[in-house]
């Protein structure tokens, strides 16, 4: 693990950011409760919805996450990790 990754991994999302991710998920998959480790596809989402979710998270959280951060491991946990990893460094 590089220093940067270690710094990134040590950060956690704020309650506001978590709530905002909830809003994004609810907007794309209304009424679906998605657990941290559950695949977006297993939760009933498809690939176009997945892309829309990434676009929405980028817009709502002002993050520069990439599609590939989420595409190959489409869980909330991976999404949070990507957001943390791509936060601008202090």
């Amino acid at each position: 693990m590089t220093d940067n990754q270690a710094i990134a991994a040590s950060r956690t999302l704020t309650a506001d950011q978590q709530a905002m991710i909830d809003v994004c998920y609810e907007s794309i998959l209304p009424g679906v409760r998605v657990t941290e480790e559950e695949s977006f596809f297993d939760a009933g989402g498809d690939s176009i919805q997945l892309v829309h979710l990434v676009q929405l998270v980028q817009a709502k959280l002002g993050t520069s996450i990439r599609l590939s951060d989420f595409l190959y491991s489409p869980t909330r946990a991976a999404l949070a990790e990507a957001i943390v990893a791509r936060l601008p460094h202090d």
Partner: protein, 243 residues
């Protein structure tokens, strides 16, 4: 669990098992809009071939026969009602090949010129640039407008399109006709020649023109689904009387 067929909508005890093939280059999301249009008695399942949707990263299928084997096996393993196979554009050919293994109650094709029995499919060679432009247009039409996401998605999607086109290249349409009826839908603003598919069935082959361009299946499925619904209802009524 078999991942070849993705459940999109419908009850556990359906009147009909509708299996839909996404267009070449696409995944199950191609039929996203159908969830809300499908009649309540239909179980709607979309084919998810390796390498797309939840199967990103898996190696692509190598031939139309492999695709047909995969789908026929998955559909037969959990068949709960008469099967209707539906293909759009190039995947109509895959649905035809699948129908030879599965004996569906109805084969539906959309936006696809009838092939010639025994003659290999020859698609013109497309440049990488042409594939990128095509893919970009398809994605823009789906509302994916954020430039960086769009660029990444084009990178991910073009190999899927290329693999799907390569699948059909050289495949020979079967010489032996099916027993089930075939209905072929065409978009009124599409350039695809509207020849009948009657060489592939001993039953009826119908042509239905619905409003829309080549992507009517995704963007304006109302007329198509209304017609398909009528056909399926008539089919179920007939089978109900004879059984």
């Amino acid at each position: 669990m078999d991942s070849t067929l993705i459940h999109l909508a419908g009850p556990t005890s359906p009147e009909v098992d509708l299996v839909v093939y996404p267009a070449a280059g696409a995944g199950p999301s191609y039929y996203h809009t159908w969830r809300e249009f499908a009649p309540p008695g239909w179980r709607l399942r979309a084919v998810c071939l390796p390498g797309r949707g939840p199967r990103f990263g898996e190696p692509f299928a190598a031939s139309v026969h492999e695709v047909a084997d995969l789908v026929a096996e998955a559909a037969a393993a959990d068949q709960r009602a008469p099967v209707v196979l539906f293909g759009h554009s190039g995947s109509s050919l895959w649905a035809l090949e699948t129908a030879r293994r599965l004996a569906p109650a109805l084969l539906a094709t959309a936006g696809c010129q009838a092939p010639v029995p025994g003659r290999p499919i020859e698609y013109p060679e497309e440049t990488d640039e042409a594939n990128r432009i095509f893919t970009r247009q398809q994605l823009l039409a789906l509302g994916i407008t954020e430039q960086q996401v769009l660029t990444e998605l084009v990178e991910v999607s073009v190999p899927i399109l290329v693999a799907d086109m390569a699948l059909s290249q050289g495949w020979e349409a079967p010489d032996e006709p099916l027993c089930c009826p075939i209905v072929s839908y065409f978009g009124s603003d599409d350039a695809v020649p509207t020849d009948p598919w009657n060489a592939f069935t001993t039953a009826t082959a119908s042509i239905v023109t619905v409003p829309g361009d080549h992507n009517f299946t995704r963007h304006s499925p109302d007329a198509l689904l209304a017609d398909l619904s009528q056909r399926i209802s008539a089919m179920l009524a007939t089978s109900g009387r004879t059984s």
